[in-house]
Symmetry: C2
């Protein structure tokens, strides 16, 4: 399978954005301000849609068209976007910039941003519970539960709390890793796991896809830390060095830049190994893994 | 059917509280602070559990034990509690007191309160997607979608936004009613509608239960306005007169106290009429409707 990753990612993002545009309430319907804030956070900022594209690529690895898991893909992005809106709030990370633009509470106001986040989280489950004819309601329920589990206290929200509790004190590698596994890892893992559920993966395939997701999720976060440490704020679209200024523990800080790069590389090697039991239909997943290690933003 | 409403409500609340206690993560597991905040908001404050009890009573009206819809009942309460936590935040209604105790962000902090709300909203969908053997996954998915729809932009969150947008300007009755239909009405309506879905109600029964929910939901809100206007803060467990101080439009303000009371009474009469097609198994629903009009807090 001959895949150009740049084209693949661009095409995936376009499909996901088109579908998100359909799912989001119209910007001119009351309450306009809320719908505008949801659309601003979701569609205006040029997100890469890594989680949705991982779901589409997982479906393809299992021999299905990506469109089969489009509701899951959009639900993942709704949850990711809500988490960014709430994380940026003054009471949380207090970030004024997101993807090169004012964050949602700066472009609108705090109350609207809180509600836009709440609405997007809720919309994720409305999308994923949409009646479908192409798979069993039982599988849809399982995927929905996997998504809720990954997004909630046992996953992303729990990780965000752990992260806040770790602020302004020094933590060790195991604690840092535990934060990342929850805060960012759970949602990347469930992109693969949920798509596997909706595409009738065998237990062996499911296990491999889950471990692939775990490995690239952690590698992605290590690269994020590295880019914050050494990246260029103009390329990143947000202030860099913010972790250091906020006295946050990071991989490069705890391991050194070189060792953190090696660790990310090892994780990508593991992820690629997990793909051994798949045909070349899994090439997009393979390329995405390699892309994570090479990305500049 | 001879039902003592006080006993019925107390028994329902106890069953729901027991089950919520099982669903909530243990308070001594990391991140403890988040779990404690969730439990504080959910279990410590003596909520009446009106929405969950409506779901249980609806199941009984349809000839099923209330326990059949317990996951829906608990999901409803998770969403209701999250909405109170977020509504109380400084950027929203800025309330220091809730049910006679410090609100969640006062007892913990703003970041923890935001995350506890996010976690409870997510938990609602995790609970309702739990595998069950006693009903069809397809019905479970429909109920889940009804719940997400009622909780999101088309329902409660949209209503909260409309409410914020109406602050500090005078609005008329149609706009006030529109706010209430969304902000509080949608979740009360879906308590009955979701339970009807999970209990194989006929289309006629579903329509009656939905209209019952709509009528008592609006009556409940009118009574809330009336109690804020004329109630006793010691009995209410929160400051009264706050609507007036915040220059919020209310039913008593727009219609006068007597007319607002009459309007609530008319709605309860409508709700009782909707119960005509049910046997005495619907007596709890009938008593709850009458209770709403007579409540003092």
């Amino acid at each position: 399978m001959n895949v150009n990753l740049a084209h693949y990612l661009a095409a995936g993002k376009e499909q996901v954005d088109q579908q998100l545009d359909r799912y989001l309430p119209a910007a001119d319907r009351a309450p306009e301000r809320l719908h505008q804030a949801m659309r601003y956070a979701m569609l205006g900022g040029g997100g890469k849609r890594i989680r949705p594209i991982l779901a589409l690529a997982t479906a393809e690895a299992l021999g299905y068209p990506g469109s089969r898991v489009m509701p899951l893909a959009c639900a993942l992005e709704c949850i990711h976007t809500y988490s960014l809106i709430h994380d940026d709030l003054p009471a949380m990370d207090d970030d004024d910039l997101r993807r090169g633009r004012p964050s949602c509470h700066r472009a609108f106001d705090e109350a609207t941003a809180i509600l836009a986040g709440d609405a997007l989280l809720t919309l994720a489950f409305e999308i994923l519970s949409e009646p479908r004819t192409d798979f069993e309601p039982a599988a849809q329920l399982v995927a929905l539960r996997q998504l809720a589990n990954a997004a909630g206290v046992a996953g992303m929200v729990g990780g965000q709390m752990l992260d806040l509790l770790a602020e302004n004190r020094s933590i060790g590698l195991p604690e840092l890793q535990n934060i990342h596994i929850h805060k960012t890892g759970a949602m990347i893992r469930v992109a693969c796991l949920g798509a596997a559920t909706l595409c009738n993966a065998t237990p062996e395939q499911t296990r491999a896809l889950k471990r692939y997701g775990e490995a690239i999720g952690l590698a992605f976060q290590i690269m994020d830390d590295l880019l914050d440490e050494i990246g260029d704020s103009a390329v990143m679209g947000k202030a860099t060095g913010s972790d250091r200024r906020q006295a946050k523990s990071t991989y490069p800080q705890l391991m050194g830049v070189t060792q953190a790069q090696e660790k990310a590389q090892d994780l990508i090697t593991d992820a690629l190994q997990m793909m051994d039991c798949f045909s070349d239909q899994a090439d997009p997943l393979r390329l995405i893994a390699r892309f994570i290690i090479s990305r500049a933003c």
